[in-house]
Symmetry: C2
Subunit: 464 residues, 2 copies
Amino acid sequence: MPDKLHTKYVLDEREMPRAWYNIIPDLPHPLAPVLHPGTRQPVGPDDLAPLFPMGLILQEVSTERYIEIPEPVRQIYTQWRPSPLYRARQLEQALDTPARIYYKYEGVSPVGSHKPNTAVAQAYYNQQAGVKKISTETGAGQWGSSMAMAGAFFGIEVEVFMVKISYQQKPFRRSMMQAYGATVHASPTNLTQAGRSILAQDPDGLGSLGTAISEAVEVAASSGGTIKYALGSVLNHVLLHQTIVGEETLLQMAQADDYPDVVIGCAGGGSNMAGLAFPFIRERLNRGLNTRFLAAEPTACPSLTKGVYAYDFGDTVGMTPLMKMHTLGHDFVPAGIHAGGLRYHGMAPLMSLLHEDGILEAQAYAQNNIFAAAVEFARAEGIIPAPESAHAICAAINEALEAKEAGEERVILFNLSGHGHFDMAAYDAYFEGKLQDFEYPAEAIADATTRLPQVDETALVPGD
Amino acid sequence: MPDKLHTKYVLDEREMPRAWYNIIPDLPHPLAPVLHPGTRQPVGPDDLAPLFPMGLILQEVSTERYIEIPEPVRQIYTQWRPSPLYRARQLEQALDTPARIYYKYEGVSPVGSHKPNTAVAQAYYNQQAGVKKISTETGAGQWGSSMAMAGAFFGIEVEVFMVKISYQQKPFRRSMMQAYGATVHASPTNLTQAGRSILAQDPDGLGSLGTAISEAVEVAASSGGTIKYALGSVLNHVLLHQTIVGEETLLQMAQADDYPDVVIGCAGGGSNMAGLAFPFIRERLNRGLNTRFLAAEPTACPSLTKGVYAYDFGDTVGMTPLMKMHTLGHDFVPAGIHAGGLRYHGMAPLMSLLHEDGILEAQAYAQNNIFAAAVEFARAEGIIPAPESAHAICAAINEALEAKEAGEERVILFNLSGHGHFDMAAYDAYFEGKLQDFEYPAEAIADATTRLPQVDETALVPGD
């Protein structure tokens, strides 16, 4: 039984874990190879070299279980890490539940979310490779502001393609990137072929994460090697960097003398959920535990619950390598929900595989439900969550109420990936009853499937 | 010499100090009595009872050196306290200074500033007195959102009069208060006599903190005892509650094996500066140290550097008791600088007295300078500061550069009272070159002095 009065479990920076955890060697089944978009055959490290520095490429394909966090990255992590683990005592009381609810809070980072965990690492490996400029995209702006900050720390210029609807709705995230010294464009732009082709089809289009990725990739790919590209989720190395979250949480749960029955995260590209969950999945596999893992996604963009598991592009135009993942189709443009960070057509290959293997459950939530959960949480715990993180809260509250109904002491752990201080317009819309709930139409998935890239999986070299 | 690599000094919640520090018994000279606005004679506790619960009134006049923090307040404090103390290693490097710079960061609270330290305490004592509703005012919204959150925690309804210009410029702080369940009005309103009389003089007026205070005080005073009033700065009990900041910092500086030569805070009403400084002033007085204390205020509202030390009202209309303090005159409406939390005509009586006694230095800074300092800080340390806190940063950077010039190892400590995530429009204006620098006109102070309330101080009972 945990200490009755403890609310916040902190670690000194000297207790911060020294390695990221790579789940690849522990997977029950091997990850499907990444394919070249032209040849549709497995890519090697050199194929990725135009986009990423070799340090990150080697992490992308590494089979080492632990990868040491470089000292300069650790030093910057200490700016906000180790982040606190909270016991949600006031929420438990409000719900009158026998469940014990814990949340890891990543909103203490300077930009207010978990994204700097990988942005700082990516900036470091780029700097080591002598890179002077990085291009990237951003949806809601969490990732773009993290990359902008990391660029400022390592003296790297950052150019951000920000989805136009977010650029208009969230001007303050744009301001934040500029405060860190980054250049920000509303995507689609006229600056790239990809942008121009999308604008030709729809001059008033509000953009999508897939399109912004196409633009940022094009800038790097056509730079002759002077500009590299950075992605804020989906890829193995990004999920790897986030595992610092779960490694810390394991130590903090031990401080609390408790252990989760269910681990929850919101899932867009998959990195914040993976960051918390992967070290706990390792413990489940190694120690034969029954821990459940639950990904919370929006009904408007339900890649895990409604998507197909197939090879697809990471971007809209089809410039990126093909990854086997849960996808709603690379040309799917999700409805304009306020959880902009979850509006992505695909799901990280690692998360997708774990879902296929039955380790990772998934559940989709409608927008008004997640805001109701967010407000209940804010009034009990104080922290106003980002709409993305509110999906995890909604799932956690459901679990706590189920536990109450069943009269059981369920231990619930979730990742509160960020605060909602840049999302107050969404709260206004919720209180004014103006939020629409979007359901992903059943026929859309069948339609999108017809445009998936064709891959003959039997022709792939086995074991690659 | 401090540990070379330590960046962040954390305390476990069980190490959190158990008492607030009351500086009154340690003052070199007694504090001038608070006067009744009608009789202009010293008020007793009963005179304040229409506005405040007795628990807070007794703290206002207490001469006990330490006042124990009640357990329910401590429990809520642990949501974000103890807050971290940072060594600003990256800023030191950017400035190439031999100075060691430390900052206490209060932006980790759920609303992003130091204000909940007193809001939670005030809500608690009101709840203990059976109060069901609190009226208050807010400028930039930091205080209003803190009181709204504290009200949600203790089941107390909160009504906020928000200065109209802030209501319009900072809609998201309004949203935040509403998310916590508070009612928010743009002041001046038609709901109070005070508001109506101000509107009659100037129907398009954008309001001021003084006017909003008049409205909130009137709501409480005319409620027949059912509604109490709460203030976010200036008063002794408010400064008292903030001393948890300095008490923690003393422990953390000891962890760092270091001690400040100069302690800095921004000063509007004076509470965040007092919170950090008072425990260090105690140490200076008790241990005969030479520690300097520097209040950083805006040139647009320079109550310490340009104001007179005299009796004045706390509000515009003249409803509050008279306090002896540095003041620019109760009808002074400061220019619309973005540091809304520093736009107050007066300064806490305790801070004012310490300035008179030569313990507290003061320096005024222009708006463009403080934003330049804020941007330099953000690019080095990551945290984007509130414009209020940027005054302290500006002062700290000046001290660090002086130390560099003098070639001395000055140890600088400042209070980073909050983050600037709700202030990005101000950063935009700065980058666009649209920020105006305001100087308080020399003739204004002479003019304002003519309207100060007349008090015959020789007629006051000595020693009161």
